[in-house]
């Protein structure tokens, strides 16, 4: 069952998730992160680390966010891997507040 990064990551990119990934399955462009589900082991370690709750197991994914399954699958394999925490994007804290976190 895939684990999916969704739109809340966009313009935040807090990257806390990558520090607990045991198999280095996160990939990133300059806007957000994606999970390569050919590598992810569904352990769920990343899910509670996201300050904006952007990460879901597929079973818990709200219908309006299911579009992100294909986006993760398509983009992750073509982007560089990210395994170390990076600075969040400028404005991430403001966006986090906007998102209600």
């Amino acid at each position: 069952m895939p684990t999916i990064v969704t739109g809340n990551c966009e313009r935040c990119r807090f990257t806390d998730c990558v520090t607990v990934c045991p198999v280095a399955c996160f990939h990133a462009d300059d806007q957000m992160l994606y999970i390569d589900n050919n590598v992810c082991i569904d352990c769920g370690a990343c899910i509670p680390t996201c300050p904006v709750q952007a990460i879901y197991e597929e079973a818990d994914l709200p219908n309006e966010l299911r579009v992100w399954i294909a986006i993760n699958a398509e983009r992750a394999p073509n982007l560089p891997s990210i395994t170390e925490k990076e600075e969040p994007l400028p404005g991430a804290e403001a966006r986090k507040a906007d998102l209600g976190f």
Binding site: V23, I41, D42, C43, G44, A45, E57
Partner: protein, 473 residues
């Protein structure tokens, strides 16, 4: 000159080869400094709980081994397997041979219930059973009486669920996993009909992850049973569920409600999920001729006290007994002391601050560090240890100015491991020989591997003279 410069590499000994040890090695080797890492492991086989803890029917959770294998192939990394720190090599010797010693040796023993009858035959720790079915050499010769019909598991964490699932599954569900052959054989003859999973607090406070919990509803010949009365929650628990922090509990409750409402199937086995109960005594039954063997557990009913997220179980005085011939306790784990390192026997950890091991006065001891379960206690999952180990590595690297004590010899400076002395040190290349043999043994049975269960068996594979003629394939 500071250790970690080009002419003067930083030598670090890591004690333990489980997830926290390998993630610490990763952090050190990626630090951008010249570093040499020697990893000590008491068994010939590395990977700690990923090999000997993760349940055989959860192969995906063993995938981190691919990452550890990549780390182990870095030139600056060496495995020294089959070496017990504190016996073959002292901590003092390690401190002399390395700039820093990083303990990642986990929590190897179980917490006790502290109740009468705990040591009756038939009463076991989850650790023994898990080690037994995962081919850990320490537990190879343990015996579990699976001719019993009722098994009780005390505790509701993920290890408790693993034990439950292995007892509940059919041989067909297990035979293509890497479960130890001797365990599969015993489980094939199991007469277990009922498994009771006993929790001290209520269903909203249970510690298992939803995914593991759901699996109990997907077994071939075993149904979960939940008493609907247990799902009537007190106002404090309802408040926990409504809170943002209650999302896992909410999902767990949904799964439980699903179990409670679904029609029962005529399965051979059943798992009873039971809440608000604590064991107070284990009894033998002298009258039945089973004198000296576990035959029942006395449970006391609890109620919850305290505000949301602070609720604790308090005994009500109401007692009930449950006949059972087999019991496993899975109520937490503790680390084991190593001579030469401070130890907190109450928490079962090496006392530390930011990963720096501290003495009784709370002062950091230069050059001694801890990561993983021996640092923070047995919490979290595999990935949790990656962030934890990185944090300790950052403390270690920040201490470089005070670790400057000249060049270090690494393992070459350990007298007890010299040529012709001490144990046969198992390198990573040696391990790959053992690994290959295990995979080969498993192939004919349709298993990913058939693990060796004895240290001597593994060592026999090494140092064999090369065949005189190339073997025909």
């Amino acid at each position: 000159m500071t250790a970690g410069s080009d002419q003067h590499p930083l030598w670090v000994a890591i004690v333990g080869s489980g997830p926290s040890g390998f993630y610490a090695a990763e952090g050190l080797l990626k630090s951008g400094r010249p570093v040499r890492v020697d990893m000590f492991e008491r068994l010939p086989a590395p990977f700690g709980l990923v090999r000997h803890g993760v349940a055989p029917d959860h192969p995906k959770l063993k995938e981190p081994i691919r990452i550890y294998d990549r780390i182990a192939h870095v030139d600056e990394f060496r495995l020294l397997g089959n070496v017990t720190v504190g016996r073959d090599v002292s901590v003092e010797e390690l401190r002399a041979a390395y700039h820093a010693v990083l303990f990642c040796c986990g929590a190897e023993t179980d917490r006790r219930l502290g109740i009468p009858g705990e040591d009756l035959p038939g009463s076991h720790t989850a650790t023994e059973f898990v080690g037994w079915y995962n081919a850990h050499p320490d537990y190879r010769d343990r015996e579990f009486d699976l001719s019993q019909e009722v098994a009780v598991i005390i505790g509701q964490g993920n290890v408790a669920i693993d034990v439950c699932r292995i007892l509940a599954k059919t041989v067909d569900e297990l035979k293509h996993t890497d479960i130890a052959a001797h365990a599969l054989e015993c489980l094939a003859a199991s007469r277990i009909r009922e498994i009771h999973l006993i929790g001290r607090r209520g269903p909203a406070q249970a510690k298992f992850t939803t995914k593991e919990f759901r699996e109990l509803g997907e077994l071939a010949d075993c149904d979960p049973v939940v008493d609907p009365a247990d799902l009537e929650l007190n106002p404090e628990s309802l408040a926990e569920l409504e809170d943002r922090a209650g999302s896992v509990a909410r999902k767990n409750l949904d799964v439980l409600k699903g179990f409670a409402s679904r029609p029962a199937r005529p399965t051979r086995r059943r798992v009873f999920l039971r809440f608000l109960l604590s064991p107070v005594e284990l009894r033998d039954d002298a009258q039945s001729g089973d004198g000296g063997r576990l035959s029942q557990v006395v449970l006391e009913r609890n109620r919850l006290e305290g505000g949301p997220f602070r609720q604790t179980a308090r005994a009500t005085g109401e007692r009930l007994t449950l006949k059972c011939g087999l019991l496993f306790r899975s109520i937490g784990y503790k680390g084991v002391a190593i001579p030469g390192v401070p130890f907190d026997p109450r928490q079962g950890v090496f006392p530390s601050r930011d990963g720096r091991i501290v003495d009784e006065a709370g002062a950091a001891i230069p050059g001694l560090y801890a990561a993983g379960w021996i640092k923070r206690g047995p919490t979290g999952i595999i990935g949790t240890n990656r962030a934890d180990s990185m944090a300790t590595v950052n403390s270690l690297l920040a201490d470089l100015p005070i670790l400057d004590t000249g060049p270090k010899p690494g393992a070459e400076g350990l007298a007890g491991l010299g040529p012709g002395q001490g144990p046969r040190v198992v390198s990573y290349a040696d391990w790959l020989v053992i690994d290959g043999a295990e995979v080969q043994r498993g192939a004919s049975k349709g298993k990913p591997r058939e693990k060796f269960t004895r240290v001597a068996e593994m060592l026999r594979l090494l140092d064999r003279p090369l065949p005189r003629e190339p073997t025909e394939l």
